[in-house]
């Protein structure tokens, strides 16, 4: 893990010198060193520039979404302080205006997302349990096979799935969206939850078994409570992924106003009314609001999931 260049090998003699009386704790020292680094004006300047580059575009669109249409068309959002006019009309129009009616699509997004999060997680939990704690023949091969399926880009599955759904007469309904999202989430979900499940000490499971607990009881009473953080972190991923998805929704439900989620509608607006920034800006923030809130509230779990190597493309 660590490659140390020769210069950093400590001379034995230096040891005692370093351990001289008065000493800051190591974390304190590193904090001090970090401070020294940032107090270099170049470094802090660079950090601030990056931070600005990363926030200003979003901020600009956010400001725009509150400006009246005539103002948006004639002046930049940065002129707002000299020209203070704000309104909620854009949101009103984007949500309930007959040409956009994003409120309908907002409902669709919620209806699509919740089952598409609950179903794959439950299935994956059961499968991960079998892989982790039930001894059966072919377990290793099967697990590797599922793991390998993460490689399959969903693009490769779309056309055959769509024709199957059309055959069943289910195309363009919520059912196929739920089913598709669940299928696509399974390999990663199983892999992640299996890793977390393996971290639980085997002695806990053994003890429960000795006490006469069956698989179902072990699963619900011993493992599930310990897995809550892991489940939360995957749930956030899946939530963001489904809520933000465009491709799956576009292929399986197209633009049907009764099923299509926000992303599909907002992308469509961007194509057909690309210069109606009062609608686009408000529409974009209506679509962003929920994932942003979820993300900010549960960032801790999200980071945890990221570090466990869970990233879906």
């Amino acid at each position: 893990m660590t490659v140390i260049p020769p210069t950093s090998l400590i001379d034995e003699d230096e040891g005692p010198v370093r351990a001289a009386p008065r000493k800051l704790s190591r974390t304190e020292q590193r904090a001090l060193a970090a401070k020294g680094r940032l107090s270099s004006p170049w470094a802090s300047g660079l950090a601030i520039i990056i931070a600005i580059l990363w926030t200003v575009p979003t901020f600009g669109l956010f400001v725009t979404s509150f400006r009246p249409r005539s103002e948006i068309r004639t002046s930049g959002w940065w002129t707002l302080p000299f020209n203070w006019e704000v309104t909620l009309d854009n949101y009103q129009q984007a949500l309930f205006g007959s040409s956009t009616s994003l409120s309908t699509y907002f409902v669709n997004s919620i209806v699509i997302t919740l089952p598409a999060v609950v179903i794959p997680i439950s299935l994956a939990l059961l499968a991960a349990y079998a892989f982790a704690w039930v001894d059966f023949k072919g377990r290793g091969i099967l697990f590797v096979a599922i793991f390998a399926l993460q490689v399959v880009p969903i693009q490769i599955t779309l056309i055959p799935l769509l024709s199957q759904y059309v055959q069943w007469g289910l195309a363009g309904s919520f059912w196929v969206v739920w089913l598709s999202h669940s299928i696509f989430a399974l390999p990663l979900a199983i892999y992640l939850l299996h890793n977390f499940m393996k971290e639980i000490p085997a002695s806990l499971v053994e003890a429960a078994r000795v006490d006469g607990a069956g698989h179902v009881k072990i699963f619900f009473q011993v493992l599930l409570p310990l897995l809550t953080p892991a489940i939360a972190s995957f749930a956030i991923f899946q939530f963001l992924w489904v809520w933000n998805d465009l491709l799956v929704a576009l292929v399986f439900v197209g633009g049907t106003p009764d099923v299509a989620p926000l992303t599909v509608r907002v992308a469509e607006l961007s194509g057909t009314r690309g210069t109606a920034w009062q609608l686009l800006s408000a529409g974009a923030f209506i679509a962003l609001a929920v994932p942003l809130v979820v993300f900010l509230a549960l960032q801790r779990f999200f980071v945890r999931g990221l570090l466990a190597g869970s990233v879906k493309g």
């Binding site: 660590t2 490659v3 210069t7 950093s8 400590i10 020292q29 590193r30 904090a31 401070k35 940032l38 950090a47 990056i50 990363w54 926030t55 575009p57 004639t74 930049g76 940065w78 309908t104 299935l123 059961l126 499968a127 079998a130 039930v134 099967l142 599922i146 880009p153 693009q155 490769i156 599955t157 779309l158 056309i159 055959p160 199957q164 919520f174 299928i183 399974l186 390999p187 199983i190 698989h215 933000n244 465009l246 009764d258 992303t263 907002v266 992308a267 961007s270 194509g271 690309g274 686009l280 800006s281 994932p291 942003l292 993300f295 960032q299 980071v303 990221l306 570090l307 190597g309 493309g313």
Partner: protein, 329 residues
């Protein structure tokens, strides 16, 4: 009962959603408690109960369609005649597809490197400072945003107004050009630079991911190494170059490969910002237009398979590096 398939009102939709979840819970419950009731259930029965539904889903939704798409890629547009490798030859030799491939290569090379570099520099700069968590959230936020939302945000930054009379620029980037005394540009139209402006959006999104993972890796560098290096007179860029970067090498590789995979499949940005026009299309987007707009199933399938084949080496490399990292740990 038509609303079970095509609900119209909000009430019906929510009812349907609850029914779907309940139905799922009931089915799973029946399976599980059925198993529990059987004394000394044989292992195969338990495995089937726990694993069966998943295997069914995966076989139906991933394995079977994958095989069918590979088959389709050897057939003509309508899927009626076997054409061998014609679709692939076309995908690699047609002028139109050459541009697509060139763009895809640009995306897959630039995005991971730029995003990782920016993420790494930022992670080092803010490491253990007072505003660390706030500074991280700022960079990280684009991760939560949909690619569609991000595209709209940046389309507005690139917005162009012709430079005549007293028309004001409303896009920030063009306003900056005007302030600098330069003529405004049609960033999304001017080839070949427009692809770079699309790539910038993906870099903007992925840098947060790189920053988070790398920041955790930096914090895991043992204190004595850092301290020893400092005693030896390493500071600033020297520390970065000789201690930080080599110590987090495995994390760097994981980040680069992961971003490369995500970039390979990027579709939303191209579709929302340019619709694939002005020579900005990439493989993942071309797959969509060929399959669902041009109704050319053969080429579409071939492009999907190409995508699949391109992902494999990246994943294999990624997994091998992960293994190595775990062994050392």
């Amino acid at each position: 009962m038509d609303w079970l398939l095509h609900p119209e009102s909000t009430g019906q939709k929510f009812t349907l959603m609850i029914i779907a979840i309940l139905l799922f819970v009931v089915v799973m419950g029946v399976i599980l408690f059925g198993i529990d009731r059987i004394k000394r259930a044989p292992v195969w029965l338990i495995v089937t109960a726990f694993l069966g539904p998943t295997l069914l889903f995966v076989a139906f939704g991933l394995v079977y369609p994958g095989i069918r798409t590979i088959r389709t890629s050897f057939y003509n547009a309508k899927g009626t005649a076997f054409v061998g490798f014609d679709n692939y030859v076309k995908a690699f030799t047609d002028d139109q597809f050459q541009t697509v491939l060139r763009n895809t290569v640009l995306w897959v090379v630039i995005v991971p490197i730029a995003a990782t570099f920016i993420g790494l520099v930022y992670a080092v700069l803010i490491d253990r400072t007072r505003f660390e968590s706030f500074a991280k959230t700022l960079i990280f936020l684009p991760m939560a945003i949909s690619l569609v939302g991000a595209s709209i945000i940046w389309k507005f930054v690139y917005e162009f107004r012709p430079d005549i009379g007293n028309i004001q620029q409303i896009g920030l980037l063009n306003q900056l050009l005007v302030w600098l005394g330069l003529p405004p540009q049609q960033f999304l139209l001017n080839q070949p630079w427009n692809t770079l402006f699309l790539i910038a959006v993906m870099v903007w999104i992925q840098a947060g991911f790189a920053m988070t993972v790398l920041s955790a890796a930096i914090k895991a560098i043992p204190d004595d190494i850092v301290e020893a290096a400092r005693l030896d007179g390493l500071h600033g860029i020297g520390m970065f170059r000789f201690i930080t970067v080599p110590s987090i090498r495995p994390a760097l590789i994981v980040v680069i490969t992961t971003i490369a995979m995500a970039t390979l499949k990027v579709f939303d940005i191209v579709r929302t910002m340019t619709g694939g026009n002005f020579n900005t299309s990439v493989v993942a987007y071309e797959f969509y237009t060929q399959s669902f707009r041009a109704q050319n199933a053969g080429i579409g399938a071939a492009l999907a398979v190409i995508l699949f084949v391109l992902v494999i080496p990246i994943v294999v490399y990624n997994v091998r590096q992960l293994r190595l990292a775990e062994e050392i740990r």
